[in-house]
């Protein structure tokens, strides 16, 4: 028994000596090595920053906010507020919304695709944050129409129950997507087939001829309507496109969305522009250009205009 206890004591002592060896290694040589690597990383990061400055990539909300690893922790004593750091931004954002991994539209058009109309662009981008592109840009008609819209998780793409009751307005980690009728069955419009076709095109587009590329783009954008749904199509009390109640909106939120305050605000904005890139090969360009406002003409961006009023 005594010998057994002695052996256990020695075993514990051996384990302790290994533990101390690790500690001593960490505070001496490992510390020097770690510091060296940290410095190298800083220098590499600076090089990357420089490269990015030289060739600025398309700014995306996802890249800067949702995917950004640059966070800042505010130590307030009674709590720690951790948020993404946006250079030069005064107000705190304090949000944690993952990027939209499902949408194949944002891969080409970005997650802030609306940039033409000064009055509207921020509003439209705001809606695009929780409404899938197809919800406004695809008008299902006839047999295809189901009138069904549901929420999908931004990260997983899976259809989920409505988040509206549990989260602050617009801070949902999910988006609304329409359902079309396929063989009499309601099917989500961003089907796996459509996604894989668009992604395959994106990956192989450099190897395609111009004609092939245009054809592929046409196929991808085939479902896109020439005229999207506009604000008043949803923000009206008579027949809003989105079935807000079915989407889980409580009565007070519906009242707010359809309030005169919101509808009145919308009435102050009248112009909507459809980018031609959503209709590749469209020959109505000349007709459309006649309707362009002077500042748009100056930019010479081929657009189709739809005026609401």
């Amino acid at each position: 028994m005594k010998s057994m206890l002695m052996k256990l004591y020695i075993l514990g002592f051996a384990a302790l000596s290994i533990f101390f060896m690790i500690i001593i290694w960490k505070v001496t040589f490992a510390h020097v090595i770690e510091e060296y690597h940290e410095r190298q990383e800083v220098l590499e990061a600076l090089d990357v920053e420089k490269e990015n400055e030289e060739a600025p990539a398309k700014t995306t909300f996802q890249k800067i906010i949702l995917d950004s690893e640059e966070t800042v922790k505010h130590y307030l004593g009674y709590k720690v507020l951790e948020e993404k750091r946006i250079k030069g931004h005064f107000h705190h954002i304090g949000m944690d919304i993952g990027p939209d991994q499902r949408s194949y539209c944002v891969e080409c058009h970005g997650d802030m695709p609306h940039d033409q109309i000064k009055d509207l662009r921020a509003f439209l981008n705001m809606h695009a944050f929780f409404i899938g592109c197809q919800t406004c840009h695809v008008k299902l008609e006839g047999e295809e129409q189901t009138g069904e819209f549901r929420w999908y998780d931004r990260r997983t793409g899976v259809i989920i129950p409505s988040p509206v009751a549990f989260e602050e307005p617009g801070t949902y980690k999910s988006k609304i997507i329409p359902f079309e009728s396929v063989n009499g069955q309601p099917t989500r419009i961003d089907s796996d087939e459509r996604i894989s076709f668009a992604r395959e095109f994106r990956e192989t587009k450099d190897a395609l001829t111009e004609a092939q590329s245009t054809k592929a783009k046409k196929l991808i954008h085939k479902i896109v309507s020439k005229q999207p749904y506009v604000c008043e199509d949803c923000h009206n009390t008579k027949a809003p496109v989105l079935p807000l109640e079915k989407l889980g909106y409580p009565k007070e939120r519906i009242d707010s969305i359809l309030s005169t305050e919101v509808v009145g605000l919308i009435k102050n904005y009248t112009k909507f522009y459809m980018p031609r890139m959503l209709h590749p090969g469209d020959k109505s360009e000349k007709e459309s250009e006649q309707n362009l406002t002077p500042d748009i003409k100056k930019n010479k961006k081929p657009l189709t205009i739809t005026k609401i009023d």
Binding site: I10, A14, F20, H74, L76, I93, N125, F129, G170
Partner: protein
């Protein structure tokens, strides 16, 4: 009906207590300044666009966080003065130096951050030199938003012991005279936040690090050290990493006591707190090392573990690292091997024949 009245009378005290609890627990600790209903749109995180330079412009305001900031009482149009109607045109850049609608109570004049501009213009961070000519690389000099985001309240409780947060016991005392909870909460948060640093030492160091740890800026301005990196090497910096609030941060040493933090002066300025003649006063101040001698402050605070910047410190530190590791690691190894021998006293490694 009669029975109901009897029950009501019997339990009136309980009902009053219940209503009081409801009232006190659900009294908002935050105060909206959104008179113009700007949050009708700006409460949505996605409200954003890409500007003409290709940069992201985010117009989202987190209401909960804003209402716990020192600007909670300032209306949106108090800073965004060009916005007169909704929907509005693209807003101009906010000028932090404007007079806002709040009255500064000691002088009863309109409140403004204008003084910060004056202090900054006379500091080492000024964009102009002593003669009023633009400095070289003036664009590197900080403007308001380089250092400041919206400052958040960091309330303290002193009732029985000093801790973070709001003391409900103290609020009860406030309520004896003051009747509006909105006023009480705001005043309490404001005063207790201002009685200590509104930012943790680590947060302050991180702000300074944006420029002072940037090797390009350090090189451009011929600075002797990556200041926050070398601060992180000291005992103070290491304690700051463990979120110690008592530890000195950049501002404690580089700003003269009683002066504005914006009035930071160069080391060679005789008025600077870090001038060689004044340096000892920093360490020996009442809150830090009051009994220290002037010699205490002669050590190189910003020495880096770097051959070029501080060769003496580098070789000295390197020697001690090697000495410590080189002695203790083999010692632990020998102890371990000794333990193995004691566990297996008769074990032999068979030699190949």
């Amino acid at each position: 009906m009669k029975y109901a009245r009897q029950v009501l009378r019997k339990h009136v005290n309980i009902i009053i207590v219940f209503i009081s609890i409801l009232l006190f627990n659900f009294t908002p600790a935050v105060f909206a300044a959104d008179i113009g209903n700007c949050l009708l749109c700006h409460k949505y995180p996605g409200i954003s666009r890409v500007d003409e330079n290709g940069d992201l412009r985010l117009f989202y305001v987190n209401e909960d966080i804003f209402n716990n900031s020192v600007h909670a009482k300032v209306n949106c149009e108090g800073c965004h003065t060009d916005i007169k109607k909704v929907p509005h045109d693209p807003a101009k850049k906010v000028d932090c130096l404007i007079e806002c609608h709040i009255t500064e109570p000691s002088t009863e004049t309109k409140f403004s951050h204008k003084d910060a501009e004056f202090f900054l213009a006379n500091s080492v961070h000024s964009t102009k030199d002593k003669d009023g000519n633009p400095k070289q690389f003036a664009e590197d000099m900080p403007t308001c938003k380089n250092c400041h985001d919206n400052p958040l309240y960091r309330p303290l409780s002193f009732f029985k012991k000093v801790r973070y947060g709001v003391s409900e016991a103290s609020l009860g005392r406030c309520r004896v005279c003051h009747k509006k909870d909105e006023f009480i909460y705001r005043f309490y948060n404001h005063v207790t936040t201002r009685l200590h640093k509104s930012r943790n030492p680590l947060n302050i160091a991180e702000v300074c690090a944006r420029c002072h740890n940037n090797p390009e800026i350090v090189a451009r301005h011929n600075l002797s050290t990556k200041a926050v990196y070398s601060y992180g090497e000291t005992f103070h910096g290491k304690a700051a990493r463990f979120l110690d609030e008592r530890i000195p941060d950049c501002l404690d040493c580089h700003v003269r006591k009683g002066e504005s933090v914006h009035q930071m002066l160069a080391n060679d300025n005789p008025l600077s707190s870090t001038h060689k003649d004044n340096r000892s006063k920093i360490c020996t101040n009442m809150d830090c090392h009051p009994s220290a001698t002037p010699k205490f402050a002669t050590y190189s605070v910003h020495a880096e573990f770097n051959k070029t910047q501080s060769p003496v410190q580098y070789y000295f530190t390197f020697f001690f690292i090697v000495l410590t590791g080189g002695t203790l690691l083999p010692l632990m190894g020998i102890i371990f091997l000794d333990c193995i021998r004691r566990l297996f006293p008769h074990a032999v490694i068979k030699r190949r024949k």
